[in-house]
């Protein structure tokens, strides 16, 4: 069994390595100190098992897993964290195994056994991440853009368009594609910042300049950069509710 250890602290990786040494059938194929490294190493080594820290620079553990899943990689995961009550609750609720730093050899062996037994049977990373945020809205979206990983901070996101099973993210003059439905993304965004103005569009309210009405049923949102997006009747209703509520 091939395992990877992903943690930004040397000493934290050392503990996992040391515990794994007692399991000769598990081979540590790579140790990574951040999420981007982990993605590269996973492509190279095709691990079966990941020891994954949650708080790391650049990408957090959930985002690493999400990107690995987007590449079609299926592997067993043991989350390792020092303290994150919401994440723990999410793991418990979804029967995902985790280790709390610092941990005992017994606890480590138990987690390893459970990860082997469960394998890849676990909810998708986005679902875990949503549960771990415990109601807090999303702050950024990670997108695999060819060989590159893009992190889209939401204040830099103009609008989102549904395109079949994908969403097109418009950010800083670029289009990025991500495999996700508009509805599932809509559910994770802050309802007062991002508005579903149309069946196929979510708009960053910050970018809106005005709404123009051509005919009785046809409205368009005019954005700061001059872009025009269609606004449906339901979308217009949502905007009005927001304004009247404010």
């Amino acid at each position: 069994m091939k395992a990877m250890i992903v943690d930004d602290e040397d000493l934290a990786r050392a503990v996992v390595r040391e515990h794994l040494a007692a399991n000769p059938d598990v081979e540590v194929v790579a140790e990574c100190s951040n999420g981007l490294e982990a993605l590269k190493a996973a492509a190279l080594h095709q691990p079966d098992l990941l020891f994954l820290d949650i708080q790391m620079p650049k990408l957090d553990g959930f985002e690493v897993l999400e990107l690995l899943e987007a590449e079609g990689r299926r592997l067993a995961v043991v989350f390792v964290t020092a303290y994150d009550q919401h994440a723990l609750r999410a793991f418990e609720a979804n029967a995902v195994d985790y280790l709390l730093k610092p941990f005992s050899p017994e606890r480590f062996d138990g987690a390893l056994a459970k990860a082997r037994a469960l394998g890849q049977a676990r909810p998708p990373a986005t679902q875990l991440a949503t549960a771990a945020r415990a109601g807090k809205p999303l702050e950024r979206i990670v997108v695999k853009d060819g060989p590159k990983v893009s992190i889209v901070h939401l204040e830099r996101l103009d609008w989102i368009q549904a395109q079949d099973d994908y969403v097109l993210l418009r950010t800083e003059g670029k289009n990025l594609m991500k495999q996700q439905t508009l509805a599932s993304l809509d559910g994770q965004l802050e309802a007062t910042r991002f508005i579903r103005i149309h069946r196929s569009f979510i708009l960053n309210l910050e970018r809106l300049v005005r709404i123009e009405q051509d005919s009785k049923e046809h409205r368009e949102a005019v954005l700061r950069d001059g872009t025009r997006l269609p606004v449906s009747r339901a979308g217009y209703q949502r905007l009005r509710e927001l304004w009247e509520g404010a």
């Binding site: 934290a12 620079p57 610092p102």
Partner: protein, 354 residues
Amino acid sequence: MHPLLASRARLGTYLLGWVPVTVMLAAMGRIQGWSWLEALALAVPLCLIAALLSLSAWFLCQALPLGNTTEGLGSHGIAWAMAASLMGGLWSGLAWSLARLGAWVPGLEALPDRVGKALPVLTGLGILLYLAALALHYLILAQERAAEAERKGADLQMLAQESELKALRAQLNPHFLFNSLNSLSALTSVDPARARQMCVLLSDFLRRSLGLGERKLVTLREELDLARAYLAIEQIRFGARLQVDWAITAATEPALLPTLLLQPLVENAIKHGIAVIPEGGTLGIATTLLDGHVVATVTNPTDPEAPAPQGLGLGLNQVRQRLLGRFGHRARFEATTEAGLHRVLLVFPLEVQP
């Protein structure tokens, strides 16, 4: 206690307010052809009595407080009208009695007759005066309530700050604690000597932070020592990723400042700076003395790709409030992000233990 009787200054001002009313009343008598003696003999005692009687409006105001809506104004209005009519009647009755008494004095023999003719006017005037007094008392009541609310608000804020501080003292960053224990757990087999060193550092930090919790003000030196203990532990955890650049001016060290003002800044610099950058960086702590003020800065590199944070976080805001709460306009707080460097600057007067 009646608010107008509570202080001599207020009572004096109130009675002074009645002087023009007295003059007006006397002038009215003169217009009707009364002599000066007659007009003043009636107006002066009558207005004095009215001034005292009108004080009773306070009790009506308290019994019938004004709400935020017009609801209940109808029943209030009836009570006001009844009280005002009663007072108007009482007042004109007193005027009549005064006139009767005055008739014994030479030169005032015509007074009962004159007052008798003026009774309807006097009653109406009494009603108006009482209504005016009522309005005045409602104003006073509203003002007293506002002042009380302000006082209560200030008290509450003091309490909130106190409890915030208590929470701050009790709060040991759990991330820091568990991550440190995890590093320790790794070191026990990798490097036992450093493991022991880490135990000592951790104890030192805990003891210092528990000790500081007892006090409101500490010297900058103590705060810096706490930061040193904290950063020594974080340097074991982060290894080469964390460099610390100290530039302390010795003369600033005895400066007194609110407890645990520096520590949140240092923790922030780790959490939002060093910890989010793969290669880490240098955390800078500097103090200098400028025109009798201590200038303290904490700097850390930031992730160049992440957008600059909007506004201050909760932690920085607390630091700002506590600094300004202690020194007011004599202190300054600034947080800026420029060219990938986040900098928090505190300026406060150099005050030392007497």
